[in-house]
C-alpha cells in the first residue's frame, strides 16, 4: 500500500496572484504611493520651471561637469576601498583562526552606529587640515564598509566547507583557496554591497559637508541655502537622483543574483578555520587600524571633549530639551510611517498583480532620494501644496514617512509573508470577513516583525540630519541639528554632549537592530531596507 507521507501537491493560493485587491487595501496604498511620488514630481516641476532650454543651459556648464567628476571620484575611491576593507574583514572573521573572532564579528559591524557627520566632525576637530577629498573618503570608507562586510560574512558562512576540503585534496594551497574559491563564490554579495556603498557615497551629506568637499549633496545644499538659484538646486538634484536610480537598480539585480546563487538550505557545518601563521601579524594590524579609525577614534574623541571641559559650560537643560524634541519627532514619524506601511506591506505580501507591484515600487522611490534632495523636494511640496504646515511638525513628519517608508514596508512585507495565508482562510471559514481576518490574524501574528521595523524607523529618524535641518519647525532643535550647529562653528566642547547622547540613544541601537534585521531578513529571503 502507498503510505508515502507527503503533502498533496495541489497548488492552493494561486488565486491571490491576480485580481484586483479590495478597496480597503487599495485605497490607502494608492494614497501612500502618491504621497511618496509627490516630492519627485515637484522636484522635476521645479527643475523645469524655466523650460527645457534653460535647464540644459544650466547643466551644460563646466562647473557641472567638475561636480560630476568630483563626486564620481569620491564614490569610486570609496567603493573600491570598502570592497577591500569589507571583504578582508569578512574573511578574517569567517574563515581565519585569528583569536577573538567572535568579538570582532560584532565589532566590525559597529561603525554603522557612527553617523557620518559625527565621524567627520571628530577627524576635523583633531586635524582641520584633513578636510577635503581624503578626509571625506576616509570618513565614508570607515562608516560604509559594513555594507560590504555584512553580506560577505553571511555569504562565506553559507559556503559548504566540503568545497575547500576537496580543493585541498586536489593540491590547492590555503592562499589559492581563499582567493580563487572562497571569495570568488562571495562575488555576488561583494557586488551588491559595493553598489550599496557607491549609492551611499553619492547620497551622503554629513561627511562631505563637514569635510567641505564640493560633492553633489553639498553643492545642492549650498545652491538651495543661498536662495538665489533654486532651479539649479533642483536640476542638480535630478541628476543626482538619476545616478542613484541606476545604482539602486543595479544593486537590486545583484542582490537577486545573491539569492539565486544560494542552493540548498541552511548551513551544514562550520569549516575548519584557516591557520594564519605568520600572516597573523598583518591581519592583526589590519584589524587594529580599521577598528581604530572607524570606531575607537570617533567614540574616543566625543568622550574626550566631554571630559575636556569637565562638563563645565554644558547646559543639561539644552541637551535634555534637544533629546526630548528628537524623541517626540521620531515617535510621531515612526507611528505615522507604520500606519502608512501597513496597507502597502499587506498588499505587497498578499497580491502579486502588476498593479500591486507598481504601487509597492512607488513607495520605494525614497531609496533613490538622498536625504538632502528629499528635504528640498518636500520644501517645494510644502510651499506649493501644504503652505499652512510649512516649517511645522506635520510636514517634517511627512518627509520622514517618505524617507523611511521603504524600511518599514520591507519589514511589514517580510513579516506578513511569514504568516501562512492558510490562517486567513481558516479565519474566514470561522465567519470572519477578509479584512477582519487581516486585523484579527495576520497583523497580530506578524506584530513582532512590524514592531521591529517601526523601532528601526524610530531610531533612524533620531539620527537623521539633512531632512531635519531643512524642515524642522522654527525654534525646534534636535540632537542632530544642535550637533550640526556647533560643528559649523567648530565649538567641539559644546557639541560633545549632544554627540554623546546621540550615539547612546540613537546610533548604537539602530546599528544593533538593523544588523539583526539584516541577518534575519536574509535568512528569510525577505527584503530589508
Amino acid at each position: 500500500m502507498t503510505t508515502v507521507v507527503a503533502a498533496d501537491t495541489d497548488a492552493p493560493g494561486r488565486r491571490r496572484r491576480t485580481g484586483l485587491p479590495p478597496w480597503q487595501l487599495l485605497g490607502p496604498t494608492v494614497v501612500v504611493a502618491l504621497v511618496s511620488l509627490a516630492p519627485v514630481w515637484y522636484l522635476i516641476d521645479r527643475a523645469l520651471d524655466r523650460g527645457w532650454g534653460a535647464a540644459v543651459d544650466e547643466l551644460a556648464q563646466r562647473r557641472t561637469l567638475d561636480l560630476v567628476v568630483r563626486s564620481t571620484a569620491l564614490a569610486g575611491f570609496v567603493t573600491v576601498a570598502t570592497v577591500v576593507v569589507g571583504t578582508a574583514a569578512a574573511w578574517i572573521v569567517a574563515r581565519s583562526d585569528l583569536p577573538g573572532r567572535r568579538v570582532l564579528r560584532v565589532a566590525f559591524a559597529m561603525p554603522l552606529a557612527v553617523p557620518s557627520y559625527l565621524a567627520a566632525f571628530a577627524w576635523v576637530a583633531w586635524n582641520p587640515s584633513i578636510a577635503g577629498f581624503w578626509g571625506a573618503a576616509l570618513v565614508l570608507v570607515a562608516t560604509t564598509y559594513p555594507y560590504v562586510y555584512l553580506p560577505v560574512v553571511a555569504a562565506l558562512g553559507r559556503i559548504d566547507p566540503a568545497q575547500e576540503e576537496i580543493a585541498r585534496s586536489l593540491g590547492w594551497g590555503e592562499g589559492r583557496i581563499a582567493l580563487g574559491l572562497t571569495l570568488r563564490q562571495a562575488r555576488p554579495s561583494v557586488l551588491a554591497g559595493a553598489l550599496l556603498v557607491a549609492q551611499y557615497a553619492y547620497m551622503d551629506f554629513g561627511a562631505v559637508a563637514t569635510m567641505r568637499y564640493e560633492a553633489f549633496t553639498w553643492v545642492v545644499y549650498g545652491a538651495y541655502r543661498a536662495g538665489f538659484n533654486p532651479t539649479r538646486a533642483a536640476l542638480l538634484s535630478v541628476v543626482l537622483v538619476a545616478v542613484s536610480v541606476v545604482l539602486v537598480t543595479a544593486e537590486g539585480a545583484a542582490r537577486g543574483r545573491v539569492d539565486a546563487a544560494r542552493v540548498g538550505g541552511g548551513v551544514a557545518r562550520r569549516g575548519r578555520p584557516v591557520h594564519l601563521g605568520r600572516a597573523g601579524v598583518p591581519a592583526a594590524v589590519f584589524v587594529t587600524v580599521v577598528l581604530g579609525a572607524a570606531l575607537v577614534f570617533p567614540v574616543f574623541s566625543v568622550v574626550s571633549w566631554s571630559l575636556w571641559r569637565g562638563g563645565a559650560g554644558v547646559s543639561f537643560g539644552e541637551v535634555f530639551s534637544a533629546l526630548w524634541a528628537t524623541v517626540g519627532v521620531a515617535a510621531v514619524a515612526a507611528v505615522v510611517t507604520a500606519v502608512a506601511a501597513l496597507p502597502v506591506g499587506l498588499l505587497a505580501a498578499r497580491f502579486r498583480s502588476g498593479l500591486a507591484r507598481r504601487l509597492e515600487q512607488a513607495t520605494y522611490v525614497a531609496h533613490t532620494l538622498p536625504g538632502i534632495v528629499l528635504g528640498i523636494s518636500m520644501v517645494y511640496v510644502g510651499v506649493r501644496l501644504l503652505r499652512p504646515v510649512y516649517q511645522e511638525l506635520p510636514l517634517l513628519a511627512l518627509a520622514y514617512v517618505v524617507a523611511f517608508l521603504p524600511l518599514l514596508v520591507g519589514s511589514v512585507r517580510a513579516a506578513v509573508e511569514a504568516v501562512p495565508e492558510r490562517l486567513e482562510d481558516i479565519a474566514r471559514s470561522l465567519g470572519t470577513s477578509r479584512s477582519g481576518a487581516w486585523w484579527r490574524v495576520t497583523i497580530p501574528a506578524a506584530r513582532s516583525g512590524i514592531a521591529a521595523g517601526t523601532a528601526l524607523v524610530f531610531l533612524a529618524t533620531m539620527k537623521e540630519l539633512p531632512i531635519t535641518l531643512l524642515l524642522r519647525p522654527t525654534g525646534t532643535e534636535t540632537l542632530a541639528t544642535r550637533l550640526w550647529g556647533h560643528t559649523t562653528v567648530s565649538d567641539y566642547a559644546a557639541a560633545a554632549p549632544f554627540a554623546l547622547t546621540l550615539l547612546v540613544v540613537a546610533a548604537v541601537p539602530t546599528a544593533l537592530l538593523s544588523g539583526l534585521l539584516l541577518v534575519r531578513g536574509r535568512e528569510d529571503g525577505g527584503h530589508v531596507g
Partner: protein, 356 residues
Amino acid sequence: MSAEATPDAVPVLEVRGLRKSFGSRCVLDGVDLVVPAGSITAVLGPSGCGKTTLLRIVAGFEQPDAGTVAVRGVQVAGGGADVPPERRRVGVVPQEGALFPHLDVRRNVGFGLPRGAASTERVRECLELVGLADRADARPDQLSGGQQQRVALARALAPNPSLVVLDEPFSALDTALRSKVRDEVVGALRAAGATAVFVTHDQEEALSTADRVAVLLGGRVAQCAPPLELYRAPSSVEVARFLGEAVVLPGALDRDVVRCALGPVVPAVVPTGVGVDGAVTVVVRPEQIVPASDGVGATAGAITYFGHDGLVRLRLDDGTDVEARWAPPLLPRPGDRVGVRVVGEVAVYAGVATLR
C-alpha cells in the same frame, strides 16, 4: 446537532460536475459527490489528484471553473452563486492544524464565536469533546502535533458548522501517533453528530475510518461507496488497483463462474456487457490466494518477508506470475512446489484490461 437538524432527504453537501484547472493542468474534471447528513466521507486519491482543491472549493477558498456546490440545499458556488467562506458554515481542519500562533487554545477555539458567556461555555464544551479541557490556557507551540490537530477540530466545530472538512488531517503525524489521533478525532466528530469530509491518500486510513469512501482518480469520482463494498466490488480495475495490491488476470465467464489461471473463481458481482466470447478481467487480492494441495500447481519464487506475513511470488504451471500473501508458517522456500486456490468472491470486469 447537525444530524438531527437536517432531514435525510437534503444532503449536507452536493457537488455536481465540478471542474477546475490551474493554467493548462486540469485538476478536477467533472467531480460529483453527495454527502448525507451525519456521515463521515473520505475522499481518497493519489497525491496531486486534486483532493485538496476540491476541499478548498467546498470551503470557498477557490472558485470552480464549472459545476456547482450546494451546502444543505443552498447553492454556494457555481451557477452564479459565490458565497464567501465566512458565510458558508463550513468548518475547516487543515493539515498540521494551522492554529493561530498568537492566540492561546481557548481563544483559538472561540475565534468563530461571538463574545459572551454562551461562547465561553461553548469553548469549554468543544474542548471537552476533544479531551483537552485542561489545556485551554496553553499556547499552540506548547502542544504536541496530535493535540494541535484536536484543537483545530474543536475550533472548527465550535460555531456549529453544517459541514466539517479535514485536509489530510493525520498525514503530518508520525505513524505511531496517527491511528490514536485518528480514533480521537473520529470519536469527537461522531459525538458531535457532525457531517464531515476528509481527504487522504492513505487507503487504509480511508477504509478504516469513513462511512463512505469516494475514490478520486483522473479528476473524477470513480466510485463512492461504503468501505467494505468498495473493497469487495471496485467499480473498475483502476479503482481495484488503487485500493490495494491486486493480481489482475484474464478470464472467461462461464455462467456464474469465471475460469482463469488460478482455477474457477466466483465473481462478487456478475458483470454485464460481456461479449459472446465471455472475455473478462479478474482482480484477485494476494491474501485470497491460499495454499491447497489439490489446487493449481505452482513453483515458489522470491519471498518478501514482513514479519506478520510474507509476500511470495508464484509461477503457475501455465507460466502466469502471481503474488500471494501468506502467514509465516505457510511460506515455502524458493523453488518449492505448491498448490494454490482462491478463497472468497473476486471482482470481475467485462473485457480485457491491460495487464501489468
